[in-house]
């Protein structure tokens, strides 16, 4: 669903006003904590020297902005119902992020059914919550439209936590159902280029693909070193009619201290038509109580199996730096600079015109300024 440009600008303005007026208070909590209302949002301006890059456009782009509202209700000692609505005018319009019912047998076993977030890596369940990360943008190689991290699972999930003692904590997620993935058909685009079937005005669009019969899990080990944890995420599709079996697997390391935080994630993705590797490392440090700096390196490469072709559309390498001012843990302004090599996420619009003219440039510089909030 897409809205008009005017509507998007009004939405962006409203988001800025909401952020500016957001009090440092926490969520709305009612009925002795049995009902909680929370929300988050963001808006950013991005400009590049050449190609469009996600929320940053050549010549400047004001049109990014999103807002979500979450409701959680404890129906009884063991039953919970929760839902989250997400309004993202530029991409998905108004969508249901998650809506599920949960029954808590014990700390070792909770069962939930419905529309769930994808328990994947560090950010799989909180991809759009900007106050939980140092950079305005989530690492696209892992959490973007690369068919690695899903936007949601429709089905059933089991989770639990074990305390073996001596400061260790193990938690797990197991899930099954259908997985929604954001996809960009770059391989098809490059094949069109090879076959000479590109059309002027054509470009890459992000679509949502549903992958059925997914089974997956995630294991999180919190270590005695306060703030340091190790995660292993994996999922696969034993049955899939179109693209054959799909496997995604990878580890995540995270340290979050009072002033310093660091993350490292790597994922391997394999299906009938392609094999991809995605990784990033980022670190951030609070120079003062409010002022934070951060750096990130990111890499992505996919290899298609259909033909021995190579293209800058299969590659992404990025170095980025961010400078953040946190008014409150729930309200931050961020300014980031990105140097990008490759056209997996950075390309001109319409892309086909540049491919037909042979004018696609693989290097892009982008700067993004924005506000992100949560309550």
């Amino acid at each position: 669903m897409r809205t008009s440009a005017a509507m998007r600008r009004v939405t962006a303005l409203l988001l800025v006003l909401m952020a500016a007026s957001a009090p440092p208070a926490a969520a709305v909590e009612l009925q002795d904590g049995k009902l909680s209302i929370n929300g988050y949002g963001s808006w950013g301006y991005g400009a590049t020297n050449l190609n469009d890059y996600l929320v940053a456009g050549h010549g400047g782009d004001f049109d990014s902005g999103d807002f979500a509202l979450a409701l959680t209700s404890r129906l009884s000692d063991r039953a919970v119902a929760a839902a989250q609505l997400h309004f993202f005018p530029e991409r998905t319009g108004l969508s249901l992020d998650w809506a599920f019912g949960e029954w808590r047998f014990s700390d070792l076993l909770r069962v939930r059914a419905g529309v769930l977030k994808h328990p994947f890596g560090i950010f799989g369940e909180v991809i759009n919550v900007g106050t939980l990360r140092p950079f305005f943008l989530i690492p696209s190689s892992v959490y973007g439209a690369t068919e690695i991290s899903g936007s949601g699972v429709n089905g059933l999930a089991f989770s639990g936590v074990i305390h073996p003692g001596k400061g260790w904590e193990l938690s797990y997620d197991l899930y099954g159902g259908s997985l929604k993935l954001h996809v960009e058909e770059v391989i098809s685009k490059v094949l069109q280029q090879v076959q000479g079937t590109l059309q002027p005005g054509g470009t890459l669009e992000i679509g949502v693909e549903e992958t059925k019969y997914v089974l997956g899990g995630r294991l999180i080990a919190s270590t005695p070193l306060e703030g340091f944890e190790v995660r292993l995420s994996a999922y696969g599709t034993p049955i899939r009619e179109e693209n054959g079996p799909r496997v995604v697997v990878g580890p995540s390391l995270q340290y979050t201290g009072e002033a310093f935080s660091a993350r490292l994630e790597y994922f391997f993705f394999h299906e009938t038509y392609q094999r991809a590797h995605a990784a990033y490392a980022e670190a951030a440090y609070f120079l003062t109580e409010k002022f934070q700096v951060g750096a990130r390196a990111e890499i992505y490469h996919t290899t298609p199996f259909q033909a021995p072709i190579d293209s800058s559309l299969f590659e992404h390498r990025e170095l980025a730096a961010t400078f953040n001012y946190w008014f409150d843990p729930g309200l931050v302004v961020k300014l980031s600079f990105h140097a990008i090599d490759g056209n997996r996420f950075a390309f001109p619009v319409p892309l086909d015109d540049a491919l037909l003219a042979g004018s696609l440039k693989r290097t892009t510089f982008a700067s993004i300024a924005g506000v992100q909030f949560s309550f």
């Binding site: 909590e29 904590g33 979450a70 959680t72 700390d107 369940e125 106050t131 306060e226 949560s374």
Partner: protein, 141 residues
Amino acid sequence: MTRLFLLLTTLLLADAAGGAEPGLRVVVNEANPVTSLSREELADLFLKKVSSWGDGTLVLPVDQLEETAVRENFNREILRKSSNAVRAYWQQRIFAGRDIPPPERESDGAVLAFVRRNRGAIGYVSAESSMAGVKALTVRR
């Protein structure tokens, strides 16, 4: 010298007998059979990593407001986290759809009323608060 020894002994015994930290007392409902908890156990209850008491009753932690000195003290001494780190922890839990933070009450009196009203409740109040109708826990190191 003897007076100094007696004074130190009295202070140590007083602390071991009831308080968690100077200026802070952890309280539960009078019907709760628990009399002491370790700091780690207490942190797990308030971060909702453990959700039930030994008899199966649901744990209902209740917090003080964020800006209060008693909350700051509790975060630092029991949770061993800054207020910002606690906020970040709950944001992660909330937006992943995992859990919501404990309800907050605006005063010691409101916390005590919550604890009196709910069998599984656990809260913390200033040391000078009246313990009528609740039970103060010993926090083990």
